[in-house]
């Protein structure tokens, strides 16, 4: 491997001069620069970024922790994040917990060992209350609350719930089935903002006197399990005339409805929550509440930049100390950024 030393020797200059040329920093005479560049070319010199990273204690790499990249929701989110990060000079390390059975602790370890500059946390998790806050390195949560000092970004799920409920009320739905995460997540002090969408729908439908049942949709890591859920809905709630669930669940419900010869949307409306490409290939174009993935990604990347800048500023010491310079951060509070959603009519609603 040819290193800077070889280039310096070949060009007859010092190491520092080569470094200045490579990084285009400070002043180098045209003469010197030419000699160095010639040497670099002759030797086919390529700087070793590892060494540079060690010096700066930075890798320009951000990890995205999610259950599995095979799920369209996370694939869509990750694509948006990768694009956003790339435009900021950051690489994306894939950390999918279900694809590796290692849980997120391994990835957190990598963060602590300085293999990454930060982590976007988008996987479910069960940890002591201070697990995340104790890490003291850049972390941004997606769609979950991880504790004070860990900023979070999520869609405006209340708005999402309102859009769904308003549509169902307006179209005269009478028996709605809502599919979502484990109902235990709905407890007070939940760490999942998504429950706001379900709760909003339930409240508004209840006020309108519309029946609303809730079923648990199963894990995102086992997409085929959704099929059984879809079947169950039809078997347990024979009067159902509207189903609301994440894209994949909605697609399964539509498929099952077709098998049973149910006319969608005349006798059954289906609304997908998320708006990934699944909505376009499910047999009919699914009506959907679409999360704004590019905007979510931009918000996540902004928070991440902040976190990384904070860490750098605080001289490689813990980022979140009491002495915040400006008043914007009450450290006992979770910084929360909310991104609007949109209602996209398709062929599965009236």
């Amino acid at each position: 491997m040819v290193g800077m030393r070889d280039v310096a020797k070949q060009a007859g200059v010092s190491l520092s001069t080569v470094s200045l040329v490579v990084n285009n920093t400070g002043y180098v005479s045209d003469d010197m620069r030419a000699k160095v560049e010639a040497a670099m070319r002759e030797l086919d010199y390529i700087p070793n970024e590892l060494a540079r990273n060690l010096y700066h204690n930075r890798t320009n790499t951000v990890g995205i922790i999610m259950p599995t990249i095979a799920h369209p929701f996370f694939a869509t989110l990750t694509a948006a994040l990768q694009r956003e990060f790339a435009s900021r000079g950051l690489k994306t390390l894939l950390c999918s917990t279900a694809d590796t059975d290692t849980g997120e602790s391994e990835y957190v370890g990598m963060l602590q060992r300085h293999m990454m500059d930060g982590i976007i946390m988008a996987a479910h998790t069960e940890h002591p209350a201070d697990y995340w806050t104790a890490i003291r390195r850049p972390i941004v949560a997606f769609d979950r609350f991880l504790g004070a000092g860990v900023p979070t970004v999520h869609s405006d799920h209340e708005q999402g719930g309102r859009l769904v409920a308003q549509h169902l009320i307006r179209t005269g739905a009478r028996h709605v089935v809502l599919a979502g995460g484990p109902r235990t997540q709905f407890a007070d002090g939940t760490t999942f903002p998504t429950v706001r969408y379900h709760l909003t729908v339930e409240r508004m439908l209840s006020e309108a006197g519309i029946a609303c049942d809730y079923v648990e949709a199963g894990s995102v890591t086992d997409v085929t399990a959704h099929e059984a859920v879809a079947r169950n809905i039809f078997e347990r709630y024979s009067g159902v005339d509207a189903i609301v669930g994440a894209d994949v669940v909605a697609a399964m419900a539509l498929q099952e409805a077709c098998r049973r010869g149910i006319n969608v949307p005349r006798d059954l409306q289906i609304i997908a929550y998320d708006g990934t490409l699944i909505t376009e290939i499910a047999g009919k174009r699914l009506t959907a509440v679409r999360q704004d993935f590019p905007a979510l990604a931009a918000a996540l990347a902004n928070r991440m930049d902040d976190q990384i800048a904070d860490e750098e500023a605080s001289g490689r010491k813990p980022a979140r100390t009491a002495k915040t310079d400006d008043a914007d951060a009450d450290e006992s509070v979770i910084e929360e950024q909310v991104v609007p959603v949109a209602f996209i009519p398709g062929e599965t609603t009236r």
Copy 2:
């Protein structure tokens, strides 16, 4: 940041002793070990992997270059690869060219700057013949030929083509439309093994006297464009009674058939090529030729391990020199590993 030096001081031992304990290498007396471990705990010491990486000139990170992770095919492949790599202690860096408009050269640059130990190349590309072979670092190609010395892994597309053709012949198809990549890829000396599936289907159908038209399915980066393709098929080939295409195209075709009130599978059969989860949520369960993603991932990872080991063995000098030790490698030939596929009957064929 607390470093090894701090631990050594606190424990009253030398740097090397701390290193030995941390890495569990060589012999350290229980006494010393205890002291070091105590110090590590007290100081909350976490080794900095960057430094270690610099010394070893390894990052244990492999990049996967693909058009976009948002496409279910690459999401599925990547999930399998990530799982496979993780089990071998390798991290997965996401390199999607369409999500970043940077082309793969940026990622190749990272490989050369030693930010990655190797690259899985699964994106389309147009480069001079020696572009890939000149890189001289670990590269494994997926489903494409990149040149001598770059091993490749792909499904047995001839078998895939046979399975499709046999089914169509057996069920009495009379007018088949095949959707696939740009027809220009079919030239002699193509770098795309997938054309073997199309060519096999065309040859076998032709021998059986069955009409077969070919349409270009459009880019994987623009999934919605497939919709127009699906519409076109029905408009241009009114007699079509079987459509074969990648999962997303097949799903779109099914959706369009439903809109037109065409009975699938009675009057139109649809076969999906790939077998991602799309086949399960397309309105009906799609009959599919399924690629074996876990096996493909394992094969890719094996080749990658070989490449990395070769590089290490050749003392950090170019991996592919003339002096191969055993006779297994004629360097002018592309090492090619083929993985079987399977025909999975669904609801869209007879």
